[in-house]
Amino acid sequence: MGEETSKGSSSRDATVDRYFIEHRAKLLDVAAFLDRCDRATGGTAGEPGADADFRLEALRRAVGLLDDGNPERTRRILELMSDLSDTPLDASPGGAACGVPRVAPRTPDA
């Protein structure tokens, strides 16, 4: 650790040292989840063309943002997985939010 400051002092090397293994494992979790969906049967996600599931489609598009060379990946992924409409709903759709809007997500500006 370097000098203590109000803004932190982590170097690039220290950041990679601290977080790499944890995020290697998280990446493998994503890969394993997609493999699991491929193997699963009995639903849209298990049938040929499994990308038809709107959540998986959004996830695959989000993965593409990880390595597109642009900054603020977290913000852009959150926006990709957001309802971008601007008028209140007439009534509650019921249930809890599922993480991705049911309409096709748009890729926000970088």
């Binding site: 650790m1 109000s6 603020e72 926006e79 709903l89 009534a91 509650s92 939010a97």
Partner: protein, 274 residues
């Protein structure tokens, strides 16, 4: 290290959690009214809940040397039925007069419906009328961005509520700038998974600074962690943030916001520089 958890639902937590929080340095909590995991069958159910918030929990917290203050409202999830919501809101004026009630909260939106928005604005009017602080819940997941924008639009229609007396909670990377740029306080809620966590919260501090930011656990009946605030402190220290910077975010910031109520106090806690 002394800290404040300014948003936690202790009605859903065990006495062991109070003990663990005390040992971790928690000196005060504030507890907003919320959805208890089920829809209550009558407004009278809320009357009992408000007694729990304003009488039972303060006594339970005091056993561990933790100051407890409350916020009152009907939460947005149970606000879809306008008649029901207004019957609960009729209970609020007498509660807002209690010395340990800091204001109206956590109001806001859940699925971004017209009825939720109507009741949200009626709560804003109530806060204007009683000159109280406001604590706002923003929706989760795919509804957060739209909900935050609707909330900011609604707040502009209530200019008597000055931004420095309003905190908009559960911000993430795609909403924090809009909240801070509009002059409001922003809350970062830390979850074990699914939403913002301590490392990402510290990322936000490093990108935006800590002015008008606080962190909280929002610990409740769901998968949550009543010690997430001190875990955020540990994350900051591991990255080289100074002890003063940690104290600013976890103790001084919430204290500055909450003391505007004229009711927030932590017995025995020194006030540096004042």
């Amino acid at each position: 290290m002394a800290y404040i958890d300014p948003h936690i639902h202790m009605v859903s937590r065990t006495t062991d959690d109070y003990r663990a929080m005390q040992l971790a340095g928690c000196v005060a909590v504030t507890e907003p009214a919320f959805w208890a995991g089920f829809d209550r069958s009558s407004p009278e159910g809320f009357r009992d809940y408000f007694v729990q918030l304003t009488e039972v929990e303060p006594a339970r917290a005091a056993r561990f040397g933790i100051a407890h203050h409350a916020w009152v409202c009907i939460n947005p999830k149970e606000a879809e039925d306008l008649g029901f919501a207004r019957a609960v809101m009729a209970l609020l004026p007498e509660l807002l007069a209690k010395p340990n009630v800091l204001g109206v909260g956590e109001i806001g939106l859940n699925r971004n419906t017209k009825n939720e928005l109507a009741i949200f604005e009626e709560h804003l009017a109530l806060a204007e009328q009683h000159d109280t602080l406001v604590l706002i819940h923003t929706p989760h997941l795919e509804d957060k961005l739209k909900g935050t924008r609707l909330i900011l639009d609604a707040l502009r229609r209530h200019p008597r509520l000055t931004p420095d007396r309003v905190l908009i909670d559960h911000v993430e990377e795609h909403t924090v700038a809009a909240v801070l740029d509009a002059g409001y306080w922003a809350g970062m809620t830390l979850y074990p998974d699914s939403k913002l966590n301590p490392p990402r919260a510290v990322d936000i501090v490093e990108c935006y600074g800590s002015e008008r930011l606080w962190v909280n656990s929002a610990g409740d009946w769901g998968h949550s962690d009543p010690l997430s605030v001190p875990k955020c402190a540990a994350e900051m220290r591991a990255r080289g943030h100074s002890a003063d910077a940690v104290a600013q975010l976890l103790l001084e910031n919430p204290r500055v916001f909450l003391e505007q109520s004229g009711r927030f106090a932590v017995p025995g806690l020194s006030t540096p520089g004042r």
